[in-house]
């Protein structure tokens, strides 16, 4: 921890706090991320998104994950990390594509080097290692930051990915966003380890735990991990301890498995408030900044709203067009069948 929950620098913080510039950028990102979370949740209520797993309360992790990376680096998000993808510059409407239901991945992963958001937990981690290894084989200095939930650490793919990364000394930072729950299952039923950061030991990977609601500490720890990986020292595991303030998704009922008190306790550790308090106290942040940040966030919210509210007529032909580079004769036949059916349907109506 570099800032305590009340926004005061800790002893460590006094030595290691990132530059005010960096922190301001981070705060701006968090304000946008928070607003984006709120907007997306509203869109679910309005029936414009099928589902939304909110990262409300986890904005420090979301923003830090993007902020520590260079343009040539890669981010591998989980399905919850839409705000991180937005922080990395992916169009917010495209980010929500999966959850809107138009298509699976709404954005081009190569454009901002953000892997597609998908739901099978931990399965993206070995991909991250492969991307990192390929870059290294070509002598590029790419670093890959791959996010995973506390629940995801129980999957075999987590294990295999960390082991591959360690054995190949791949430049990957594994960032476990420990928000204390996997849907309804609390950390204590997920793992008996002293911490999730301890999971690095069995692979020979350094593990570090960090307060996941302290943007300053996250930037510090993650950027050191990224630069270490870039320098060729191999992978690292970082556990950010945070909290999923809302239900798993809009479809979930969190009151079935956790208490209001617990939630209130974490509300008091809000990452935005903490950083804002500090930056104001230091005189780095003034009202003009704050207003500008809010306005930038509002723009993202507006763009999100407008984009998601736009109905694009999906094209059934697309279902057959991307299965392979060239459709098989079977797919050509099936596409013709659908076209025929739809044209007859149209003729009828």
């Amino acid at each position: 921890m570099l800032l305590d929950p009340d926004g005061r620098p800790t002893a460590a913080g006094k030595a290691a706090l990132p530059a005010g510039e960096e922190l301001l950028r981070g705060l701006a990102g968090m304000v946008t991320a928070r607003r984006f979370n709120e907007q997306a949740s509203a869109l679910v209520r309005q029936g414009r998104l099928a589902v939304y797993p909110s990262s409300y309360g986890q904005e420090a992790c979301q923003v830090a994950a993007a902020q520590v990376l260079a343009d040539g680096d890669w981010l591998f998000p989980t399905y919850r990390d839409t705000a991180a993808a937005v922080a990395r510059g992916v169009d917010p409407v495209e980010v929500l594509g999966l959850l809107k239901g138009d298509w699976h991945s709404g954005y081009d992963p190569y454009e901002r080097r953000v892997a597609p958001l998908t739901t099978p937990l931990a399965t993206q981690l070995p991909h991250a290692v492969g991307v990192a290894h390929a870059a290294r084989l070509r002598g590029e200095s790419t670093v890959v930051l791959a996010i995973c939930g506390d629940g995801g650490t129980s999957e075999g793919d987590f294990h295999e990915a960390l082991n591959f990364a360690a054995v190949f000394r791949a430049p990957v930072v594994f960032f476990v966003q420990n928000n204390q729950y996997a849907i309804s299952v609390p950390l204590a039923r997920q793992s008996a380890a002293p911490s999730l950061a301890h999971k690095g030991v069995g692979y020979g990977i350094p593990g570090e735990q960090v307060d996941g609601n302290d943007l300053a500490a996250l930037l510090d720890v993650l950027s050191r991990a990224v630069e270490r990986a870039r320098a060729g020292a191999g992978p690292q595991l970082v556990e950010g301890r945070t909290y999923r303030m809302q239900a798993h998704t809009n479809a979930d009922d969190a009151t079935r498995y956790r208490t209001d008190d617990e939630v209130a306790g974490w509300a008091a550790k809000d990452p935005l408030v903490r950083l804002e308090t500090y930056l104001r106290a230091e005189g780095v942040l003034d009202d003009a900044h704050a207003a500008a940040f809010a306005e930038a966030a509002e723009q993202v919210a507006r763009r999100t709203r407008d984009g998601i509210n736009q109905d694009v007529e999906p094209n059934p032909d697309d279902l057959f067009g991307y299965v392979f580079a060239q459709p098989t004769p079977q797919l050509v036949e099936q596409r013709a069948l659908v076209r025929d059916e739809l044209s007859r349907e149209e003729a009828r109506s």
Partner: protein, 340 residues
């Protein structure tokens, strides 16, 4: 295949339940009757499952009987193998169809093979519950029809109810079975209500198909979520003067050749319906079997109305993939009626 337990009481209790409630009730009744029945998986405890299918089981039976596991499907399946080897009857929940794939090796290489491997010494009385198939607007990986993978694997029983009453009775029988059963729960039918015959009087048993609607012109063969669509198609066809028969397979392995063949022979025409991608699927098997066994009764080739050979579409396009009444009726129209 006869039912493992036979009819025990004449007076059967009835209740109106949704499919999800019927499954819940089957678990509850089985757990009450047999202390070795355990329910486990991701979020099946306090939460009661993401579809609330296991709601209240932990409260009623305690944490030893219904409990959450760490998030690892291979681990869940493998752990269940050990439980079943050692006197328990585990019922495991795979949260969604596509999230059962990490357990594939445990299912194929151990669950399906243990009895055979040990010459019958180690049987595995376990049930793998798989909420499956589409029609609920789910995002990628939440709507796979994975049944063909299981049905192709020797050593697994595979069943799929099409209504709440079968959901109850097939699950009771699956839990009582000495062999592993993949129990496919059509997600889009979770909320569909119906009359459910309770108790452990389980007739007809696993392995028995049922003719849901009699008809004389052509036979629709379906299972799970496609049965209601087939029945609807038959209803619409009837208005146009065409009499369609509907067979509900209920059990894919074992397969009820007798009922299916008799039905097809009585009409001379058949359409097979399933949501899964068609290539090398259960629908292929049914079409091949029927074409072979009823060859001389067939007046037209057996048609298949299945999912296309594409990854399951995003919500806004899933209606294209799902067998619809229109597609079924088109296939029926194609059955070379001019020859009839």
């Amino acid at each position: 295949m006869t039912s493992v337990t036979s009819m025990t009481s004449a007076a059967v209790e009835h209740e109106t339940l949704s499919t999800a409630q019927a499954i819940n009730r089957a678990l509850r009744d089985a757990m009450a009757e047999d202390p070795t029945v355990l329910v486990l998986g991701e979020d099946v405890g306090a939460l009661g499952g993401v579809f609330r299918v296991t709601d209240g089981l932990t409260a009623q039976f305690g944490e030893d009987r219904c409990f959450d596991t760490p998030l690892a499907e291979a681990g869940i399946a493998g752990f269940a193998v050990g439980l079943a080897m050692n006197g328990m009857r585990p019922v495991i929940e795979m949260q969604f169809d596509a999230f059962a794939y990490p357990a594939f090796e445990q299912v194929v290489s151990h669950i399906a093979k243990m009895r055979n491997r040990t010459r019958g010494r180690v049987g595995l009385p376990l049930v793998i519950r798989v909420p499956y198939a589409g029609g609920i607007g789910g995002v990628e990986h939440h709507c796979d029809s994975s049944e063909s993978y299981y049905a192709h694997t020797p050593g697994l029983h595979v069943v799929a109810p099409s209504n709440p009453s079968d959901a109850y009775s097939l699950l009771r029988e699956a839990i009582a079975s000495p062999d592993p059963v993949v129990f496919l729960e059509p997600k889009k039918l979770y909320w569909a209500k119906g009359d459910v015959a309770l108790g452990n009087a389980r007739e007809p048993g696993i392995g028995t198909a049922v003719v849901r609607r009699r008809g004389s012109d052509a036979t629709l063969i379906a299972y799970g979520p496609s049965v209601p669509v087939a029945l609807e198609a038959a209803e619409v066809a009837a208005r146009d003067g065409r009499s369609l028969q509907v067979v509900d397979l209920r059990s894919i392995v074992p397969f009820d050749d007798a009922t299916v063949c008799a039905a097809v022979e009585s009409t001379g025409r058949a359409v097979v319906i399933a949501e899964a991608a068609g290539f090398a699927s259960i629908a292929s098997e049914i079409a091949a079997r029927v074409s072979e066994r009823c060859f001389h009764s067939l007046s037209a080739p057996v048609r298949r109305v299945t999912g296309f050979d594409i990854p399951y579409p995003p919500p806004k396009l899933e209606h294209i993939q799902l067998p619809s009444v229109d597609r079924i009726l088109d296939a029926v129209d194609d059955l070379q009626w001019e020859d009839a």
